[in-house]
Amino acid sequence: MRDRLGRPPALLMVPAALAALLLLVPLVAMVASTSWTDLPGHLTSQVALDALRLSLVTSTVAIVFCLLLGLPLAWLLARVDFRGRGALRALVTVPLVLPPVVAGIALRSAFGRTGLLGEPLLDWTGFAFPFTTYGVVLAHVFVSMPFVVIAIEGALRSADPRYDDAAATLGATRWTTFRRVTVPLALPGVVAGTVLGWARSLGEFGATITFNGNYPGTTQTMPTLIYVTRQADQDAALSLSLVMLVVSIGVLIALRDHWLGTP
């Protein structure tokens, strides 16, 4: 608490302490009220294992798509000067601030059985996204993509563009430069964006349940399961929540150099 500039004022210290407690207490309370004897049973139930497996699979597949599509978009925003770049960047951030339920409704409008794209898709192929695992992945991609694009674009922007110049004078095409110089130099940011997007996808609830409902084995992910379990069995919901907390802390540890790097 000793500082060359004087003692930190109570006017700032008290709210700061309250903020920290507000964030910490619920998590501690959750861990404290978990029934440790029932925990193994709750976690090894078929429905819990199915939901956990589905959550991990859909989040991982979703993040692969986010990278395949979002990395090029981030590069475009960071490195190519074109009209409407600012507008496109703003557009990318919309799903970030959109309530997830609204995202689910929007996805319905586009990819539902009678949706703008969903209807022709159903007519031609007989396939529809809603209420399928594919639909879960689609919802995850929609909500996670902005995190991935914004995090990676920031990393690409902070990487010195003169390295791209150097690569070009050495005869590299833009694709070669992207692959061998731009992305490797921004790799820490790319990894951070990926992990962040994956965590967002893992916790995704609103858009997923609105777009896909809640079918065990196909669309019931961990957050949905926790929500429906809570209504019947508070203890089981606590145990499942603990798993998500552990995963979240794992993400934090993986990213500690990015977020906790400053003293």
């Binding site: 390295y163 110049d165 690569a167 070009a168 004078t169 050495l170 005869g171 590299a172 095409t173 061998r180």
Partner: protein, 320 residues
């Protein structure tokens, strides 16, 4: 062969022959780096730069066969020294083994073969600069562009690298453009010197000519000469040809100036004065004289030079 213009930065027309080293000197902001970057294709430019039968400026950057050694090197930090040197050949489609074997040859030529697996942050300044020059040369460019290759290095490293670079440049069959702010680089490495001033070519000539008859105050200062315009002529004379006195010198010579001492600094066995006259002049006096005349900054003095010690030449005559 080149006649180009970078908006608000530089406008220059000049020729250079294969095998020739053309030094480009001038004060900060004269447009030296802009000129190199224009030829490499990294800034917007108007004009042309003919090389063989093609116009470089109309060629995409990656097809220009131009090797640019950046100020501050810009070695790829995530690649080893060898991968950096092999990068250009691999980017042009050569397979890894052959690109790496050429890369190794270049590292050997620069005497740093044992550093092949190090990353740039594990290299000293001089080592990194050698890797950067090797990276540019490994692509067999037609034009080598060196942007202040010795800036930021220790003086002893500069000396060694300058000698080394001189050997490589003698072996290099293409054109070399060497941007520098150091007269020694121009005098020791260049076949000809191009002086840029305010974005324009002020003088072109062999290093000895430019050093003997500078046409810009910047070059005169670099080679340690006083330069005084006199009508259509320029007069150049060395600081030790200047006589310093407190009283106005007698006689009818026009070669005298009154001014205030700005700085005094040891220079070899003498004391060198910078005097704010019009223009600023350098004068060397013996330490004994400096003490006897009680010379200190701010002191008003008269400077004079003998006509026989002054070299006079036309200000406008274009150098060759």
């Amino acid at each position: 062969m080149a006649d180009l213009r970078v908006a608000d930065r530089v406008q220059a027309a000049f020729t250079a022959e294969p095998g020739e080293v053309l030094a480009i000197i001038g004060p900060n902001g004269a447009g030296k780096s802009s000129l190199l970057h224009a030829i490499a294709g990294l800034v917007d430019v108007e004009g042309s730069a003919h090389l063989g039968g093609t116009d470089l400026l109309a060629t995409p950057v990656r097809e220009r066969r131009v090797g640019l050694v950046f100020q501050g090197q810009l070695l790829f930090p995530h690649l080893t020294a060898l991968d950096n040197v092999a990068f250009g050949r691999r980017a042009r489609g050569e397979d890894r083994r052959s690109a790496e074997s050429v890369g190794r040859e270049w590292l050997e030529r620069f005497g740093i073969a044992e550093l092949a697996d190090r990353r740039p942050r594990e290299l000293s300044g001089g080592q990194a600069q050698r890797v950067a020059i090797a990276r540019a040369l490994a692509t067999d460019p037609d034009v080598l562009l060196l942007d202040e290759p010795f800036t930021g290095l220790d003086v002893s490293v500069q000396m060694a690298l300058r000698i080394e670079l001189g050997q490589h440049l003698r072996d290099f069959a293409g054109i070399t453009l060497l941007v520098t702010h150091d007269a020694i680089d121009a005098l020791t490495l260049a076949d000809r010197v191009l002086v840029l001033d305010h974005g324009q070519v002020a003088q072109v000539g062999r290093p000895a000519e430019v050093a003997a008859e500078p046409r810009t105050p910047h070059v005169a200062r670099l080679v340690g000469l006083n330069l005084v315009p006199d009508g259509d002529d320029l007069m150049a004379f060395t600081p030790d040809a200047v006589t310093v006195s407190l009283a106005e010198p007698e006689g009818s010579s026009r070669l005298r100036w009154k001014g205030q001492i700005a700085t005094l600094a040891p220079h070899g066995d003498a004391v060198r004065l910078l005097v704010h006259a019009s223009p600023d002049l350098l004068a060397d006096v013996t330490p004994a004289a400096a003490t006897e005349l009680q010379l200190v900054p701010g002191c008003e003095v008269w400077l004079s030079a003998k006509a026989t010690a002054v070299s006079r030449y036309g200000a406008r005559e274009a150098g060759r």
